[in-house]
């Protein structure tokens, strides 16, 4: 992925000590929280070998926790996220696990809320840049750098046509689109990045006009 913006070289504003181990970890936590779309009750982090070995020294554990609690990369309370988590009753665990052939700084986040769960694998690529590798067991890639719609739906003909029709008529430009499914006619997830800010009414319109749609989550750009 090429770097494009001045703010990727001068930025992000973050609490230290490491853009990949701290800022990137906060962003991964943020992504999981946004996809969950409710207050998390418990979370399990499984870290790849090298990420696990140094996580305490870099505050990666605090950063991941801060992220799922919705703190930004520059929030002064990142360094005491463990205490805050205990205060708000968020149960957390950290484990070491080989997750597969990913970037060494990769973590699996299993987040539980009252109504939803999110099962996410994401990598911290350096300089605070992150990339989701898997969502709910499907190989789905996105960075959260653009406004992103995550559409949970049944795999049926015409789904993308309806979605793109709605987006077009509501004035959205699709920057990137990818669909993954478990099997034909089964459960599928489509990730759609758009250039515009996502307005609240779009989700209602999508639910009304796209019958195959089961759920939508929004990840807002940085």
């Amino acid at each position: 992925m090429k770097y494009q913006s001045a703010f990727e070289m001068i930025g992000p504003v973050m609490v230290g000590p490491s853009s990949s181990h701290t800022a990137g970890a906060v962003r991964i936590g943020n992504l999981a929280r946004e996809i969950l779309n409710e207050e998390p009750r418990s979370v399990e982090f499984r870290l790849m070998g090298s990420f696990y070995e140094t996580y305490q020294g870099h505050g990666t554990d605090l950063a991941l926790l801060a992220g799922v609690m919705g703190y930004s990369t520059d929030h002064p309370a990142v360094s005491e996220a463990d205490k805050r988590a205990t205060e708000v009753g968020l149960v957390y665990t950290f484990k070491k696990e080989h997750l597969g052939f990913f970037h060494p700084n990769t973590v699996a986040v299993l987040l539980h809320g009252d109504r939803h769960n999110v099962d996410l694998i994401a990598s911290s690529l350096g300089g605070g840049k992150v990339e989701v590798q898997e969502l709910d067991g499907l190989s789905i890639r996105f960075s959260g750098e653009k406004n992103t719609l995550i559409l949970y739906h049944a795999d049926q003909q015409g789904f993308l046509a309806k979605v793109s029709h709605v987006l077009d008529s509501e004035g959205y430009n699709i920057a990137r689109l990818s669909l993954e499914r478990w099997r034909r006619g089964g459960y599928a997830i489509t990730v759609c990045e758009v250039d515009e800010e996502i307005r609240g009414d779009l989700l209602e319109i999508l639910h009304t006009k796209v019958s195959q749609l089961k759920d939508v989550r929004v990840v807002r750009s940085l």
Partner: protein, 296 residues
């Protein structure tokens, strides 16, 4: 346009008779759909964060969370007041500011990655010392941050800015080159002179390995930021004096990339080789992590 070759950037600036900073701003406006004012304001807010981190550790000692490092920015600041230093006071001040940023970083304080957290001291160190010199306004300096960004993009897109991928040269070296080039433009140098400053600064960082003790962004990262703030100032002066980088900057960047690829993994942010593997390095690691960490 994409930022991949410095010679293209220099040619474009010459053709349009504009600065590299302005070219970067134009691209940022086009890509982000924000106005110039909004973009400059965002950068200005980041500049305030840089300033806060640069002054904090000079005013009062700041220590890392692990307790391995800290207080050096304050020491250099106090020494500076004695008036007996070898370096010119302003240069030593840049060093103290750079140290401070990385001490704040190691203490889980707030910094701006420039381009990374591990190399976040060099650019603010130099820029805040220039702000204090009274020779440049805050607006001038904020604009020069866009020069630094453009140079960083070229290096990131054609080589790397990650210590894990390219060694310390990719972080400290890139930050030094970005800073040197940016202040050459600030000081009235031509785009070609900016290119020479990048080449000169980067050449002096080639081969620098990433060997942090315990894998932590502390030893030797903090010290390297302090010393390379001085290198950035020196490279800028060299370029403004008319010294040329005989090997063109784009080729130096390619050399850095090739050297990074040739570096063994033990010297690329794994905390296994170099200073990390010294007896003291290993003992400090054990002190922090409380147990013997198996080497992979």
């Amino acid at each position: 346009m994409s930022f991949t070759h410095l010679h293209e950037l220099i040619r474009m600036a010459d053709e349009k008779q504009t600065s590299i900073a302005n070219l970067m701003l134009e691209v940022e406006i086009e890509q982000s759909l924000h106005t110039e004012k909004e973009i400059l304001e965002r950068m200005n807010r980041q500049f305030f964060v840089m300033e806060e981190a640069a002054r904090k550790g000079v005013e009062t000692p700041v220590y890392s969370r692990t307790g391995l490092t800290g207080g050096d920015a304050h020491r250099v600041g106090a020494y500076l007041k004695r008036g007996t230093s070898f370096l010119a006071p302003q240069t030593l001040q840049a060093m103290s500011f750079a140290l401070s940023v990385n001490e704040v970083n190691a203490g889980m304080g707030r910094i701006v990655a420039t381009p990374t957290a591990g190399s976040a001291g060099i650019l603010p160190g130099v820029f805040i010392s220039l702000l204090d010199s009274g020779r440049y306004s805050r607006e001038d300096l904020v604009r020069a941050l866009f020069t630094a960004a453009a140079l960083g993009l070229v290096i990131a897109n054609s080589a790397s800015i990650s210590g894990a991928a390219g060694g310390c040269q990719a972080e400290i070296g890139s930050a030094t080159a970005m800073t040197a080039g940016a202040i050459v433009e600030l000081g009235g140098g031509t785009p070609t002179q900016v290119g020479h400053a990048v080449g000169l600064a980067l050449k002096n960082s080639l081969g620098l390995v990433c060997d942090p003790v315990g894998g932590l962004v502390e030893i030797p990262c903090i010290i390297r930021n302090g010393l390379h703030a001085v290198t950035a100032l020196a490279a800028a002066d060299m370029a403004l004096a008319g010294v040329k980088s005989v090997i063109p900057a784009d080729e130096v960047i390619q050399a850095m990339y090739a050297i990074g690829n040739a570096m063994p993994e033990s010297l690329r942010e794994t905390g296994l080789g170099g200073l990390a593997a010294t007896p003291t390095g290993k003992a400090l690691r054990e002190r922090v992590f409380g147990k013997k960490v198996e080497t992979e």
